[in-house]
Symmetry: C2
Amino acid sequence: VTASLAQRLLAGERAAIARAIRLLDDADPAGIDLLRDIYPAATQARVVGITGAPGSGKSTLVDRLIEAFRARGERVGVAAVDPSSPFTGGAILGDRIRMQRHAEDDGVFIRSLATRGHLGGLSASTLDVLTVLGAAGFRTLLLETVGVGQDEVEVNRVADTVALVVAPGAGDAVQTLKAGVMEIAHLFVVNKADRPGADEVAREIEQLVAFQSHGPGSDAGDAGTWTPPVVMAVAVEGRNIDAVVVALDAHADYLQRSGEDVRRRRDRARLAVLEAMRAKMDAEVAARFPGALDQAAERIATGASDPRAEAEAILRSLNKP
Amino acid sequence: VTASLAQRLLAGERAAIARAIRLLDDADPAGIDLLRDIYPAATQARVVGITGAPGSGKSTLVDRLIEAFRARGERVGVAAVDPSSPFTGGAILGDRIRMQRHAEDDGVFIRSLATRGHLGGLSASTLDVLTVLGAAGFRTLLLETVGVGQDEVEVNRVADTVALVVAPGAGDAVQTLKAGVMEIAHLFVVNKADRPGADEVAREIEQLVAFQSHGPGSDAGDAGTWTPPVVMAVAVEGRNIDAVVVALDAHADYLQRSGEDVRRRRDRARLAVLEAMRAKMDAEVAARFPGALDQAAERIATGASDPRAEAEAILRSLNKP
């Protein structure tokens, strides 16, 4: 059944995509086999991260970008990562519902993802979903991440190009940029550019970019050849979206010319291996030693042991056949 | 040397704390032995997470809380997690420098932490630093996290009590709350409460709290007994900090009465075991099979293999003695 699912998926069949994602969500062994069959095809896709603080208008921009890429015939996959509650496991979709207007379009596939309860901002399933969509022929993948923090550092390791969306009026826009997020962006979109203060925000970002590319921490090789552009847009009215697309394409060209794309693909693969190792280890502990973690936690909580000793004991048990 | 370092640390000696943190930072084996010796003492500490968007005034609030806890004789440890650049490894301290006025006070220990480049918002070293400070007799530990995102979900698993700081004027304050961050807070601080819109923000949060505690996703057991209070404060002027402290103490009382504190201590231990297992696995791969991850990444990037197959191959090699 898996072989034919892989074929249907590679042919871009919608039902096959949904089924593949479900298999992977359920950690079904058939999903693992499937991933192996489709992985090579998936490496062709270009992943664009769209990130920024809540309220910056990321979802609206994603919606407009879908429109723009569709207009030139590209098939577009979207993975939107929600911060989820560790308690309910639920995810609040918010205005992402707006994107549903693309639901009828066979050239668009949108998937909302909860970040999982385990350590690691972008869940392993995010990588899997990108793989599935890429293999199904969605060569442009938009990865929307909510919030500003660790997720944004990770989006940079998953995406080929990262666009950081900033809105004026959020008093903290530039402070956010200073807080380290700056360095992960290949492109800045000052959204809601019809609002007061937009020009100022754009100017401040340009100054930060200039400072960065001459600062002590800059990588001369990269910084010398790619200076993150700042694009003004009003996503809600579809204004200047073309300029965003031009900047995204320019970065894709740069990646290819500089050989950066190969390096990034390798980094992504490395990350995926580490994630897979962790998932495998967690699953093996759960299967072979159910309750071992709970017992370890109990001993530690009562002061009878410490985490590293318990970790080593569990790993030793795992190594015995 | 380790035994005496542990003794000096348990006695609260400053130089021993700094040395212990350095050992752990360097992943020195002596640090691992040390942790084992001090872990039981560390379980006594109370960890308070202070979180919120950039610009909400978290650092200023932390500064005031140090003052308040010191006034009643408590020893206070602070771990501030910076979003770090994956490129420079650097961390921008920003207004955290303000806290340096406590540098002369022997009852205060402040440590700025970079989030590490590896997957996982709060680095393993964050847990280690909290352990060291707790063992050194800092019974009140403030964990300041920057940003809104996955970090905030994790702070909830590390901290006993999480205070979410919100400032009016940041247009996205309430939208941030809706984006799932809401559910991790035990307490809301509307900071900069002298600014226009503060009352409205507080009212909106109270409505969200009320909705949450009756909503479908609520856990009747907990939600029925602890309703997150909303406290107005002006941290920069030290106004109403007492009310924040009262609310923090009330939550600590609640945790003890309900037995939640025992459960949380177990969860924290469980997380620490998982982290230690991962760190151990990563270190073993690096030591025994240097280059294995890079070679795997190369095969995957060229479409010759897939991450799970490579992960399994590496794990198989590890299991051979």
